[in-house]
């Protein structure tokens, strides 16, 4: 009796181990066949952060991805395959993102992934798709370390990293040598620290002094003490990496305190964010790297407008649209759905995006998206929402060190 119980327990242990191996993908002969079967739908898994800290724009991302898929299918698909989008919620959490990505690859046979707004998720999924799965992964995240492993990775970045953003901000401040005392206000999480580090490094030798750097609590409801502190230091310019809803809080509380009158303020000001402000900081210099449709006069920007002005200008939809387009164009360039061949075809090539035709750097698979810089104006005869006027596009190729 005791022996049979032991054997029974042993059998259960083996079954559990076998199930775990099967679920993890280990022990399988290899990843699924390299190419999608002829005529079969080409599945693209989309990691949308529908819940979690960056859920604010998640619906816009999904709409952008869905639009790109619909338009591609209306044109007959790619290499005879209709596209099929499978949306999963990664909850902006690495463990969830990896579990969803693994399930998409192993259960749904997905060979192409896109999405997530979280660098942490992106980094984890990038490691998952690199080996042994060999899955193309198009994403837009700011953490440069996601793409630091070199040209062998299968991930492609559709927005400038924190490094590029920080260098661009430094170039802007350096172009105003009269500003000697610079204060930096950043988000208190990895993005803010990375941009600030890149900014500081690029400011070296400028003759301008960074007198303070303050990391504001992400999602905070009262920035007044921090604004008062910065103003008390009497900086000539303030560089801000405070983003999305935190920008709204900063602007609302900064306006009555004179943050934008007493300093030369330069910060990230996405169109979705300034459009949501009851009183945008008119006259302030801002920048955005998101592909808002009204900034760019390209065929893809016009297609994006099918989503309506609010979503098309928000930028999130455009980013997701670009990710799907990158996958589609990669397959067309390679002439096959084999992810390794698609990767090799994309690296170093140029692709059409909402921002126009841009280069994909071979060394790290970062797409050299331009950054739009301009002065904020309210709604006017040109556009019915707050925007940049005048506006200039910065070619970010000069910031890459490949």
């Amino acid at each position: 009796m005791r022996r049979s119980a032991g054997a029974f327990l042993g059998a259960i242990a083996l079954a559990v181990l076998g199930a775990a191996l099967a679920l993890s993908g280990c022990g399988s002969s290899d990843s699924p066949s390299a190419e999608v079967a002829p005529g079969a739908p080409l599945k693209i898994g989309y990691l949308a952060s529908l819940t979690g800290f960056c859920s604010t724009f998640s619906q816009e991302y999904v709409k952008g991805a869905e639009l790109a898929v619909r338009l591609a299918n209306e044109r007959g698909g790619v290499l005879g395959h209709k596209l099929q989008l499978i949306v999963r919620d990664d909850r902006a959490t690495p463990t969830v993102g990896v579990a969803q990505a693994r399930d998409l690859v192993l259960s749904d046979g997905v060979r192409f992934l896109a999405g997530t707004c979280s660098s942490a998720v992106g980094k984890s999924v990038e490691q998952l798709v690199a080996n042994p799965s060999h899955v193309i992964y198009a994403l837009g995240v700011s953490d440069p370390t996601v793409f630091s492993a070199g040209p062998e990775i299968y991930a492609f970045n559709t927005i400038p990293t924190a490094q590029i953003e920080g260098r661009n901000a430094a170039a802007y401040i350096r172009a105003h040598p009269r500003w000697k005392r610079i204060a930096v206000m950043s988000e208190d999480y990895s993005y803010g620290y990375q941009v600030t580090a890149a900014f500081r490094q690029a400011m070296r030798g400028s003759g301008q002094t960074i007198i303070s750097q303050d990391y504001l609590p992400s999602g905070g409801s009262d920035y007044t003490p921090y604004i008062e502190k910065v103003l008390a230091e009497r900086p000539e310019a303030v560089y801000s990496t405070v983003i999305t809803e935190d920008t709204v809080t900063l602007v609302k509380q900064g306006l009555p305190l004179g943050l934008f009158d007493k300093t030369n303020f330069f910060g990230i000001m996405d169109y979705a964010t300034i459009d949501a402000m009851p009183q945008p900081p008119v006259g302030v210099e801002g920048y955005t790297f998101y592909p808002s449709s009204s900034i760019y006069h390209t065929p893809f920007a016009r297609e994006l407008e099918a989503l309506g002005p609010a979503v098309a200008n928000g930028g999130a939809a455009g980013d997701a649209f670009n990710q799907i387009q990158l996958i589609v164009q990669g397959i067309e360039k390679a002439g096959t759905t084999d992810p390794t061949k698609v990767r090799d075809a994309l690296a170093g090539s140029k692709v059409q995006t909402v921002q126009g035709r841009v280069e994909i750097h071979k060394c790290n698979h970062e797409v050299a998206m331009p950054i739009a810089v301009g002065t904020i104006v309210g709604p006017n005869h040109a556009l019915e929402f707050a925007h940049f006027e005048p506006l200039r596009l910065v070619d970010t190729n000069k910031y890459f060190e490949c």
Binding site: D188, D214, D222, K229, A232
Partner: protein, 315 residues
């Protein structure tokens, strides 16, 4: 430090303190009387802010719109709180397992958060202030936002109202009596169930009022839930559970110290609430006290008395 900087930081700290106090006061009241730690307080605060965006969207950012929001939103949320108390919480008071109350209020917070996403979506919302409240005044060289004056004034008014309600009205007398001995109050013919519902509703309404006041200061998003709940708990624990004057003092100390800490380092400022709480709890421990308020001590004494064998004396 210049006088203008000192005034500016002090003023910002006071504004921060009173926003903290609204949610903390609601938590404290519910804990002090009902003995329930309301984990839905952050969600209630968020709900108050979202409802405000809807009221202002409907009536406009006028004096009328804001007056209606300031009165109607806390009342509406308080009514919802009363319903939740009658339908759910009331069934748990007699149970010895306090985890049920904890789980119930936690479930309520998830329900509210889910409801907010269903009704308002995941995108953040913003509202503007009436023109008269959106500017600033210059006082001794310091630039002080008009709206912070409003927040502080309302905070003082609510503090006085709570004190008056608790110590100068029959309802307050009964509420304080309920803290000491619920059974005796029932024997005296007081409808304790109704009293509990009213107290829970007032506690919830205070949290919602905090949400109304914070709505025009920044973006209204689901982040508000967590940004409100944790500091409110810190204020309540620092001030002493169930101790309303203690909560006010704790909110003022944390708000003002956080504001001045920001002068040196933003990260240090964010740590201030935790540092203040640690220092106060440490000091209490050193003083040989357990960190409980007079109300909680009374409740503990009452529990010991109830559990003591007949004929013996306790507490």
């Amino acid at each position: 430090m210049s006088l203008a900087t000192f005034i500016g930081q002090l003023f910002a700290g006071l504004g921060l303190a009173f926003v903290l106090f609204f949610t903390a006061a609601g938590l404290n009241l519910v804990w002090g009387v009902l003995g329930v730690m309301n984990f839905a307080a952050g969600a209630v605060y968020m709900l108050g802010a979202y409802l405000t965006t809807s009221v202002i969207a409907r009536l406009g950012a006028s004096a009328l719109g804001w007056t209606v929001a300031l009165i109607a939103v806390p009342l509406a949320v308080a009514a919802l709180g009363a319903v939740a108390e009658v339908a759910l919480l009331r069934r748990t008071y007699r149970e010895e397992d306090e985890n049920r109350q904890f789980m119930l209020t936690l479930a309520l917070s998830y329900l509210i958060a889910g409801g907010v996403v269903l009704v308002w979506g995941t995108h953040f919302r913003t509202v503007s202030l009436p023109r008269a409240l959106s500017g600033s005044w210059s006082v001794l060289g310091a630039t002080l936002p008009v709206y912070t004056f409003v927040t502080i004034a309302l905070g003082l008014a609510v503090t006085v109202a709570i004190w008056f309600g608790l110590y100068r009205t029959r309802a307050g007398l009964l509420t304080r009596a309920a803290v000491d001995d619920r059974e005796m109050l029932a024997v005296l013919g007081v409808n304790v169930d109704r009293l509990y519902s009213a107290v829970f509703a007032v506690g919830i309404g205070l949290g919602a009022l905090g949400g109304v006041l914070v709505a025009p200061q920044g973006a209204v998003s689901s982040n508000l839930e967590t940004t409100a709940l944790v500091p409110a708990f810190i204020v309540v624990v620092t001030g002493g559970l169930g101790n309303m004057p203690g909560a006010l003092m704790a909110a003022l100390a944390i708000g003002i110290l956080e504001s001045f800490a920001a002068l040196h380092d933003a990260t240090l400022a964010q740590l201030t609430p935790y540092v203040v709480m640690s220092v106060v709890l440490g000091a209490r421990a050193l003083a040989g006290r357990r960190g409980w308020s007079a109300a909680a001590q009374l409740r503990a004494r009452r529990t010991r008395r109830e559990r003591a064998p007949a004929g013996s004396t306790a507490g």
